[in-house]
Symmetry: C2
Subunit: 414 residues, 2 copies
């Protein structure tokens, strides 16, 4: 008997009714609404023969002990962005619940290996600007010193907000203890992009999460009067920035999955009567291949210097953030593809542009794969985020099959 896909959909709707308003989901981590979502979910879990605890970083662990301590972890996150969608994160957690329920029933509460469900703490980083909080603590890639200083828009310290939820910022590194015996990690998530919809496919296997190079680029020219400064004597910082905003696109389009985005461009003084003296650009480049990502970054830098020179400007780069690409496990990718083919008839391999907790788990050396289900219009982080219900059912079915295949794979490994 497979996992109960209709139950997953019903639970998602129940959660939406409980934790959304007219603007969308409001399960922002470290807020009362998030705690309410977690308490609701715990009630559902308590029907199973499980053990439950929060780890040192606030990740919520539910353990179904098996014959072997070797562990398959299934998970995602219940937290949302403000005004978020009903599926981002919650789908993966609820699907994992139906799968662990199915496994528990099938093996009468004692599967051959241990199965754990994790609800990661603060995947979105919506309140304090620190995404993947819980999974990075698990992976040992977090910095307590950096996180300690964070504040939200109201000035509340992250340290105090997590303490109110029972987490001591000093101790979050102890979450890495949860890695013991972890043999594989599986996560189901909505795609949050348009690729599967364009292909007319419900499901895809995720090859890994793209690496990110994120930089602030400042062009300095010369502020000058719009009326009295001849075109040929201008040092227009916007012109250099506009050239760069356009040039980063063909740089990315040389590669099939690369993306490159100027999401913010600011002009100073920013008045219609003055040539732009300073222009600040925020650039985000992503690819799954570190060599491609590196060459894209280098090409953009070279172009920026060329454009600065052409426009009589100077240019400075400042790294905002970066992360290396995280490829998922090749054998689990194959298992995921098989599960999708058996369920939906056809699969598609794609990298993930957005980051996910699965990337942190994979960085910790645990074999990992993700499955994507189609997002309507590719829209996420918005109350209109949606997925067809028949696709959600296929997703739960395929994820359930993937879990079974992975249990067998773990059991067969030395």
């Amino acid at each position: 008997m497979p996992a109960d896909a209709q139950l997953a959909i019903d639970l998602l709707k129940e959660l939406r009714a409980l934790t959304s308003d007219e603007h969308g989901a409001q399960r922002v981590a470290w807020t009362p609404m998030w705690l309410k979502a977690r308490a609701w979910f715990q009630q559902k879990l308590n029907t199973l023969p499980i053990q439950h605890h929060l780890d040192a970083a606030g990740n919520s662990w539910t353990t179904l002990r098996g014959e072997s301590p070797r562990t398959l972890i299934l998970g995602s996150h219940l937290d949302s962005v403000p005004n978020g969608g009903w599926l981002d994160g919650a789908l993966g957690v609820v699907a994992a619940f139906t799968v662990i329920t199915r496994i528990s029933a099938e093996f009468h509460g004692r599967p051959p290996i241990t199965i754990r469900l994790v609800d990661w703490a603060d995947e979105e980083g919506a309140r304090f600007g620190r995404s993947l909080f819980g999974s990075s603590a698990f992976a040992g890639t977090q910095s307590i010193e950096q996180d300690r200083g964070r504040t939200d828009a109201a000035g509340t310290r992250m340290e105090d907000a997590v303490a109110a939820c029972g987490v001591s910022i000093e101790a979050i590194g102890e979450a890495r203890r949860e890695r013991q015996e972890a043999a594989a990690y599986l996560e189901l998530h909505i795609e949050q992009g348009p690729v599967l919809e364009k292909l007319g496919l419900p499901l895809g296997v995720v090859l890994g999460t793209k690496g990110v190079e994120r930089h602030a680029i400042t062009f300095n020219g010369q502020e000058a009067h719009s009326g009295s400064t001849p075109m040929k004597t201008r040092r227009d910082a916007l012109a250099a920035a506009a050239k760069l905003a356009l040039a980063v696109r063909p740089i990315a389009m040389q590669h099939p999955d690369a993306v490159s985005t100027v999401g913010s461009l600011k002009t100073y003084p920013g008045i219609v009567t003055a040539v732009v003296g300073r222009c600040e650009v925020a650039l985000d480049q992503r690819d799954l291949d570190p060599a491609i990502l590196g060459s894209m970054y280098a090409e953009a830098q070279e172009k920026s210097r060329q454009f600065a020179e052409e426009e009589g400007c100077t240019v400075e780069w400042s790294r905002i953030w970066n992360i290396a690409p995280v490829p998922f496990h090749p054998e689990l990718i194959q298992l995921c593809e098989q599960a999708i083919n058996e369920t939906a008839g056809q699969s598609h391999r794609l990298p993930s542009g957005p980051l996910h907790d699965a990337a942190e788990v994979s960085r910790a050396g645990i074999p990992t794969v993700m499955m994507f289900v189609q997002s309507l219009r590719g829209i996420s982080h918005n109350r209109i985020e949606d997925t067809r219900e028949d696709h959600l059912r296929l997703a739960v079915d395929a994820f359930d099959r993937l879990a079974s295949k992975t249990i067998a794979w773990i059991a067969a490994r030395p």
Copy 2:
């Protein structure tokens, strides 16, 4: 005996000491510092055999009656932007003072025609966003209804601020009475641009003020996730706007004196993780030839539609403001050129990109010309605004010659 150029420089320095702080000139119209500057200037004028009055719009008129009521007007403005320079406006007023002093002495207080000095009220529009206030009231081009509703950054109504300086907003149209008997208007001003400095020339004759087409252009695309949205499916509003910001430049450069500026570009949501869904651009196009200005505007519109289509966006235009080009009087242009050639050996003809009170006077049908003196580095509206003192002396000498030539020209007209 020519006008006393050294006196003009000394007075400008005295005014600077009286009305500037470490950030520059602070003679913003309708403020106590502006009234202080005007009171100081009135003291200087009172040494002459003149009549003085404020007109209904707050313009300050000083009249040296001549044999004939036909009148030559000399003027500029004492008001400045906040943190302004020492010469913008003040040079023209002070030079006019030395010229009227010279004429009064030469003709023993009774020149052949009437000479008037005008200090226009609120040329800059720095406080209420309404430039050329007094001269447009004189010219009859102002709108009381529009001006009534204006407020400054602190919420003070323009109507109340001008009333505190003795001006009733209802009555400003009566300033047009000052046009009676006006036979010509002359204004000396710093260039506020780099053209004369690049040519190595101290002085130039102004052909007129460029017309301006000023528009807000909004591109609407589709906000989308920077990581998950493939390059080919994007509808990037910034890309369309960047193309336009670059395209308006060659459109202007087809014409020798045209300028075209995107001074402000705003991205929404303006975050590094989202493709820009909406982009707002402010475009300012200027030329002295109305046909050229019209074709530049039409070309920019056409390009914007092309770029919107290429990027899967829509585009909307909204006029912020426009004004037709104002050519100066051809015979006065010739007289001005002669005066410059006689004083400095070489002249140059150039249009003015910035607007000036002279444009309003010319629109009222009064023969008008302006003389420009070189601005160091082309910089104005800034405390570092400056002009070489030998150039200031040449400017006063040439302007004095121009006044004499214009008196003769008026006397010779039927």
